[in-house]
């Protein structure tokens, strides 16, 4: 095909795309409904449509041109990401060092962002046990996050218990909920399980919203106590029993922020350690076998229900820990923080990370949460970009950033298992 005809074809393609864009945007962007004095009025916005259509035209043309004229040596984005994944071996230690040293040189804003990212890393690692290892599609993980958060908030409020007492209780309660919810539904397969877990997530949120006498409903619970450092508090007055007083330094809000940062960092590492350890133990291997082939598991005498329940409960337990941390960090929680959006975000992090890959989850959380944060200036376009990014990243890398699997045990040298062989489970 000659360059001229290729160019003409590209132009034609871009023109058609623009035409589709005109159809899509003509009414939705071009005619904005405004609440007028008596009834709705339409505000025409032809220029906005023109810009949107032009952007689609130019974008499509640029994409086609780039595909056609890409110099031979230039890697495609797909391969670029693969190369990035291969570098993973060196990335993990670097990332760890970066995370440990962050508070030493970063300002308050960055540490806060770090706390947010680490919370999602922890949630991602917790959900990886359920989705990545056991292959059970859980669309309601936020329910356990909520259970953990409310457990701590209510225990602190009603019984005056501290964070470190409540943390294990919150995890335990979330695990119990995991068992209660899991028991009736775990024999469901595939997308039936997905919708039921989604429903459970919504049920918990609705109950939190409406059980006003217990949860204070939509107003939420405020004044949740902050964690202490071996009994020392982080009060601003620097009075006796405070960290500032004990160490003889000026009280500063950043001390508490840094402390919270290391708390979530430790919790995330705990999650990571437990799931890495479990992977090498019979329980974790049974999860992975379950993901690969449930029927074969049954034929080998593995109790499928119990195995699934343990995955569900342990995943829920870490969700509960993360929830308790969220409550203590915010000092305020309301049902608004526990919508399906959270479940979707965590699931997206897990899938984008590459199912079952610990490093992948950390990278995906960094990219998704950190990346979205960078767009904070474009407040209203932020989630729009988030949605588009999910689509684009899935298309570029359907198996996630770090795919492949490391065997849990080996006789000789351990080799990575290609992602193509690994099942994503049917549960």
């Amino acid at each position: 095909m000659s360059a001229v005809s290729a160019g003409a074809a590209a132009l034609r393609d871009a023109f058609l795309s623009a035409l589709v864009a005109l159809g899509l945007f003509g009414a939705m962007i071009g005619l904005k409904t405004e609440v007028g004095p008596t009834s709705l009025v339409l505000v025409p916005r032809p220029w906005a449509v023109a810009i949107a259509v032009a952007v689609v035209f130019a974008g499509r043309l640029a994409l086609l041109t780039w595909r056609a004229w890409r110099p031979a040596g230039t890697p495609s984005p797909r391969r670029l990401v693969t190369a990035g994944a291969r570098a993973g071996r060196f990335v993990a230690p670097l990332l760890l060092v970066f995370a440990i040293t962050l508070p030493a040189y970063a300002g308050r804003y960055w540490i806060d962002l770090g706390i947010l990212v680490l919370t999602y890393v922890m949630l991602g690692w917790g959900l990886t046990i359920v989705v990545g290892l056991a292959g059970l599609l859980d669309l309601g993980y936020v329910a356990f996050y909520a259970v953990g958060a409310y457990s701590y908030a209510l225990l602190a409020q009603n019984f005056g218990l501290g964070f470190w007492t409540c943390l294990p209780l919150a995890g335990l309660l979330a695990a119990c909920w995991g068992l209660i919810l899991g028991f009736p539904v775990l024999r469901l397969r595939g997308d039936y399980l997905a919708i039921v877990t989604l429903a459970f997530g919504e049920i918990i949120r609705i109950v939190l919203l409406n059980w006003v006498s217990l949860t204070n409903g939509p107003q939420g619970i405020s004044g949740i106590p902050r964690p202490t450092l071996f009994g020392l508090t982080f009060t601003m007055d620097g009075g006796p029993g405070s960290v500032a007083d004990f160490f003889g330094v000026e009280p500063d809000i950043s001390q508490r922020v840094i402390f919270l940062y290391y708390v979530i960092f430790g919790l995330a590492l705990l999650t990571n350690w437990v799931s890495l350890r479990l992977r090498r133990l019979p329980l974790g291997r049974a999860w992975e076998a379950l993901r690969e082939d449930e029927v074969a598991c049954r034929a080998l005498g593995i109790n499928v229900t119990t195995t699934k329940l343990t995955a569900f409960a342990i995943g829920a337990c870490f969700g509960g820990f993360a929830g308790a941390f969220f409550a203590t960090r915010q000092a305020f929680i309301s049902p608004e923080s526990f919508t399906f959006m959270e479940s979707a975000t965590v699931l997206a992090i897990v899938v984008l990370g590459g199912l079952g890959s610990q490093l992948g989850v950390a990278l995906a959380a960094l990219v998704m949460i950190g990346g979205t944060e960078l767009f904070r200036e474009f407040a209203e376009y932020r989630m729009l970009i988030f949605g588009a990014a999910l689509v684009v990243m899935m298309i570029l890398r359907p198996r996630g950033l770090v795919s492949g699997r490391t065997p849990s045990v080996s006789l000789g040298s351990s080799r990575q298992i290609s992602a193509d062989l690994i099942s994503q489970g049917r549960g």
Partner: protein, 279 residues
């Protein structure tokens, strides 16, 4: 002297809606023997297997397993995983069902799950290095290595099971079933898709499993197979099914001479099987 009976299938029937797949079937499989179940396609062989291993609950009839030291177990009332765990009946599948994304060795360790993790509490304690897990794991790897050697897959222990060639996958599935320490091994067409040399090796392997070797006790085998060469060579006892009913039962020589069997294969079986059974 005939060996004691191990598995007694009594008046077993399985209906799916209006279709009767197995109809009042009774037969006995004796200990330390290879019992073959043969018959034309659609005779109900796999359905019988699924009933024995708990994947189907039979419509009526009984399946009794004389478990050593455990009396007689009624398999038709046990859930599938307990049949493998308590009654120690292991099976393979017609369409190979390996854990494709796990290594050969991992496949064999998953098979020893119950030995490695007697209870969930035990499994959780192992996270903290308690419950004597390390020792159990070493023993499990040893057992896995024994069977890897037996099926000639030691060199591929660290390869993903899904990457093995077809014949190796079949052998691995048998090794995996053997790692559960069964008293009865049910094989669903283990020779399907194997070349003649591989079929011969399979025959040797199955005899070895039956007789026991290298410290392993012998294990009875129940076998579904279309390859008459393999069946006639290694079976001690053959049960012939057609349309869900037993039409013949006896030694290979008896069955081969039975006019009812010849009629079933010539009358309704397909061409391949006729030539195979004649061979």
């Amino acid at each position: 002297m005939t060996p004691p009976s191990l598995l007694e299938v009594h008046e077993l029937s399985m209906r799916f809606g209006g279709l009767t797949a197995v109809d009042g079937l009774s037969f006995t499989a004796r200990a330390s023997e290879i019992t073959a179940v043969i018959g034309p396609n659609g005779a109900g062989k796999t359905t019988v297997f699924n009933c024995i291993t708990g994947f189907y609950r039979p419509t009526s009839g009984g399946i009794a397993l004389s478990a050593p030291g455990d009396g007689t177990l009624a398999l038709e009332r046990m859930p599938g995983h307990l049949i493998a765990r308590r009654a120690r009946v292991a099976r393979t599948f017609q369409n190979i069902r390996l854990f494709a994304g796990m290594t050969v060795l991992e496949n064999l360790l998953v098979a020893q799950h119950n030995a490695l993790m007697p209870s969930v509490v035990n499994g959780l304690l192992a996270v903290f290095g308690l419950a004597g897990h390390a020792r159990a794991e070493r023993a499990a790897i040893e057992r896995a290595c024994f069977w890897l050697d037996a099926v000639d897959l030691t060199a591929r222990a660290d390869d993903p099971a899904g990457a093995l060639p077809y014949g190796a996958q079949r052998r691995l599935e048998i090794a995996r079933a053997m790692c559960t320490c069964p008293v009865l091994l049910c094989l669903d067409e283990p020779a399907a898709g194997l070349n003649p040399r591989e079929s011969d090796e399979l025959s040797v392997l199955l005899r070895r499993i039956r007789d026991g070797a290298g410290g392993e006790p012998g294990c009875s085998i129940l076998l579904i197979e279309h390859d008459m060469g393999v069946v006639m060579r290694i079976s001690d006892h053959i049960v012939v099914l057609d349309h869900g009913r037993k039409i013949s039962d006896g030694t290979p020589a008896d069955v081969r001479a039975d006019p009812a069997v010849i009629a079933a294969y010539l009358g309704e079986g397909d061409e391949d099987e006729v030539t195979e059974s004649a061979a």
